[in-house]
Assembly symmetry: C2
């Protein structure tokens, strides 16, 4: 665990925005289990990711009721706070506020930033983007980071977007003034080419969730990124 040093980076008081430096230090962006739970304990899956070096945990449970997400989220907030890991809530601005998450992640079909910002105040807002135009819009509207993808073929998303070209990914460090996280089909077999394209931040779902040893897989992936 590197909780100690990250705690210092991410330290904050209630209602104060996590400093952008906390995002700068993000390399491995991880998730709650979602459809990959398969009878396991969700908290153990998240704990293993944190032990393996996850810098962010996102509450992302598309098939849970709001009440079930709230219950899981309360536990995740406690764990991530204790471990000094950023805690982001997917889609639900209300849940992000209730859970005092560090931020929220919004898709292109979610509430636009100009409506979300007044509620979220200093919290982090991340935006899913699928083109250079969407990246530029997100930056202009005040996003704190963007997700960019899908970079590789993925089974996680059913509403498939066209793949983000590696040329765009390579250009990103020159055109994007805020942290960007690659997503979609990233795992131990593909992460090397991501780093070759100059991207050192990756959001990983299935490769971690399906790994025989989650902690070990996270550790391998994170070491590839730094």
């Amino acid at each position: 665990m590197k909780g100690g040093s990250r705690k210092a980076e991410g330290e904050k008081t209630q209602g104060e925005r996590v400093p952008r430096s906390a995002l700068t230090n993000v390399h491995l962006y991880c998730f709650s289990p979602g459809g990959f739970l398969r009878g396991r304990d969700p908290m153990e899956i998240v704990s293993a990711q944190i032990r393996g070096g996850a810098d962010v945990i996102q509450l992302r449970e598309k098939d849970m009721s709001r009440r079930a997400k709230l219950e899981l989220g309360l536990k995740l907030r406690e764990l991530t706070e204790r471990e000094g890991v950023l805690f982001i809530v997917n889609d639900d601005i209300d849940l992000a506020i209730i859970l005092d998450a560090d931020g929220v992640h919004l898709g292109q079909e979610d509430i636009p930033i100009r409506f979300a910002r007044p509620l979220l105040k200093e919290k982090i807002i991340g935006i899913s983007t699928h083109s250079l135009e969407q990246v530029e819009t997100a930056v202009k509207e005040g996003a704190d980071y963007v997700g960019i993808g899908p970079v590789f073929e993925t089974a996680t998303k059913s509403d498939r977007e066209p793949l983000i070209g590696f040329d765009l990914l390579s250009k990103m460090r020159h055109v994007c003034s805020i942290p960007y996280v690659a997503i979609g089909g990233i795992g131990k077999d593909t992460i090397g080419s991501l780093v070759e394209a100059g991207c050192h931040r990756a959001a990983v779902i299935s490769d971690i969730m399906l790994a025989p040893d989650i902690e070990k897989r996270c550790n391998e992936l994170r070491r590839s990124l730094v």
Copy 2:
């Protein structure tokens, strides 16, 4: 239109709770079209309901993205404000705040009142209930009104709850200290027996949405309730 008189009842300043008297005067509780749109203009369907006497419009769009709900909600907020009709948002506490709705309607699997109230402050919170125990809990936790149902067989809800007995509905005026609205399978053929059970508030979806003349149907239903 009886917008003039209702405007006075429901009058409020920004951030101030709509007085309970506004709920007391509710008889016909109506909805955005949801799955019943069938190529029509949603604003025309809602306008017809208001012309016919709807006291409440609830934004209830289970299959829309948050962004689409926001766009429709902005128009509904403007219309309901102008017409002096209460505007309630289903499920989404964040949208209710962004749209400055009069309140939110929450199900048993949504965020509990104790977590919702600090965000919603003086706004109306309505709770769906399916038993006397759930009614009592909602009242105790500070709900402003309850929906109670389903009273009759309905095709609108796929996750079917058992029917609420007419004995419970008859008891409600004695055991429930806040306004209660019957829901589920209510229409021109069934509304009479609701009134016989002492219930003068009804939420109606399919009977209105499928009526050949929405304004006329609303007018008939509302006249049965008062």
